[in-house]
Amino acid sequence: MLPRVVPITGIIPENPYTKTFILDDAIPQATPGQFVMLWIPGVDEKPFAIVAREPLTITVAAVGPFSRALHALNIGEKVGWRGPFGHGFDLGGDGETLLIGGGYGVAALYFAASELRKQSRDVTVAMGGRAAQDLLFEERLCALGARVEIATEDGSRGVRGLVTDAAQEALMRAKRILACGPEAMLAAVMRLALAKNIPAQLAVERYMKCGFGICGQCTLSGKLVCMDGPVFTAKELSQLPEFGRVHRDATGAAHFFQGRGARRI
């Protein structure tokens, strides 16, 4: 599969550092949780979660050289994509689904929420950020008919605290959890889900090169995040010693996650 190079047809600013890009193409076979490799010819190619199928939509936080180059593009300029890659969320089953998202992870969950709401299923989205300005997709999720619970670390919106605090009430009702966000958040959600015995699926990130199971770059204790993931169950992740602890850089060298929320050895 070679990249398809198509124009950008829409750009939506989501927060001070995040934009949604709508491409002049569709990816009808994609399921929520899957990703594309997005290519700016002459710059680089990086993985991004699919936010909508038709038209193909992605949401990107500007965090480094590639994402800043993407933010500098205008409507009409062209980017390449290939995909969909990986395994997405399994949306089957009855009862309420709780989506827990942090940062741009909420965008990937928006795809899952829109699929669930198409089937009139009950959806609660718990989202978190440092401050009110970090939140994304709140109105669009409400417009779908999803319940939205918010936590901010500075208390400028919703409850003061972490996204897991915002999820407390919904956890009593939820029959399953889908989560996407920073790894420390995912590790907390995994512990919560295992403790409360709620089936959970979490979308994990690792540094990716090929995106389709050849190079081994995105290994997570021997699982390939690009092929076996990026969505794994909480049970699977609890068996993978590297989850929450170790990630790899572009050389393949392993590093420990630093700071709050890192799993202890």
Partner: protein
């Protein structure tokens, strides 16, 4: 008839079956090497490591262009010190399962090949594969080392002096005379050779943006498209030198592997096919070879190795070009 024996011994190292994970595919962590070993490979090769960590080229570094893959990863690797730990752990876990571990190395100079070989040796890989044939870093490393028999022999000699572990020298299909290079490295002490590394380099262009798809502009070609070239290279080498050969290039099924063995290979490397066939390719290939052996009453791989029928053209088969006749 008794069970066919699919095992093969290369430089004193026994492989339970002839399938080998080729270097640079998945071999980035001990966990992945172990996973491939458990999926059925007879041996696994770690990704080529050098003296220092290298991030490699920006993406895209690999693309599927329809009939094969093109890649220029840029020899990204965490450095020999990290790879040593990876190889050590993989060996500890895979040894009891009967899976051999091969450590692949590259370097920027003849001297450094020796340093890297020396540094990886305490991890006790069963074999060391010396990658003198990466086409993506010409001028800087690979191509230079296998471009002439003289330099290829120098690297071989240097590595042999630096380790007691048997070495496999990995050759490139991109030289005019692969048999000559094989002869040079074997004369210099190579215990085995593997062939082929990727073909090319080649180039794939996006016609919308007119940008090369691979960030390095050019990349090595692998997969089904290169299998006939790999078979020819293996046969050229088998005719030239008596050492074991690991036949690599486009192997995706038992038929491909059997062809390689008939051409002269002791073992068969599998890389790109993991993309299309998944890890089951190792067990499926082994099963298919076994079925072929039963069908043909072969007890051991030796019974059909290096057994290409000689088909010298005879006078009768020469094409006669019709001469134009006067009107």
């Amino acid at each position: 008839m008794s069970e066919p024996d699919l095992s093969v011994t290369i430089c004193g190292v026994r492989l339970r079956n002839p399938t080998v994970l080729a270097s640079g595919i998945l071999g980035l962590s001990e966990d992945l090497l172990i996973r491939v070993g458990e999926a059925g490979a007879g041996a696994v090769t770690s990704k080529s490591c050098g003296l220092k960590p290298r991030a490699g080229y920006p993406n895209p570094v690999v693309a599927d262009w329809g009939a094969g893959l093109i890649n220029a990863v840029g020899l990204s690797n965490p450095g020999v010190d990290a790879t040593m730990e990876e190889v050590r752990t993989a060996k500890r876990v895979l040894k009891p399962k009967g899976v051999a571990v091969i450590a692949s190395i590259f370097a920027e100079s003849v001297w450094d090949f020796g340093v890297v070989a020396q540094k990886i040796s305490p991890a006790e890989p069963d074999l060391i594969e010396v990658n003198i044939s990466c086409p993506n870093v010409e001028h800087e490393f690979g191509q230079f080392f296998c471009a002439t028999p003289y330099v290829a022999a120098q690297v071989t000699r240097r590595v042999k002096q630096s380790t007691d572990i048997p070495i496999i020298v990995k050759l490139s299909p991109n030289e005019a005379n692969i048999a000559e290079i094989a002869r040079a490295v074997v004369d210099a002490g190579a215990d085995a050779v593997s062939a082929i590394n990727t073909l090319g380099p080649g180039m794939v262009i996006d016609i919308e943006s007119r940008a090369p798809i691979i960030s390095n502009r050019i990349g090595g070609i692998s997969g089904a498209a290169i299998h006939p070239i790999a078979v020819r290279c293996v046969n050229d080498i088998a005719r030239a030198v008596p050492v074991p050969i690991v036949g690599i290039g486009g192997n995706a099924a038992a038929r491909d592997a059997i062809e390689m063995i008939i051409a002269g290979a002791h073992a068969v490397g599998i890389g790109s096919a993991i993309y299309s066939r998944g890890l089951a390719v190792f067990a499926e290939t082994t099963r298919g070879i076994e079925a072929y052996m039963r069908q043909h009453n072969f007890a051991r791989l030796d019974d059909f190795r290096n057994s290409v029928m000689e088909t010298a053209p005879t006078a009768g088969s020469r094409i006669v070009i019709p001469q134009p006749t006067e009107p």
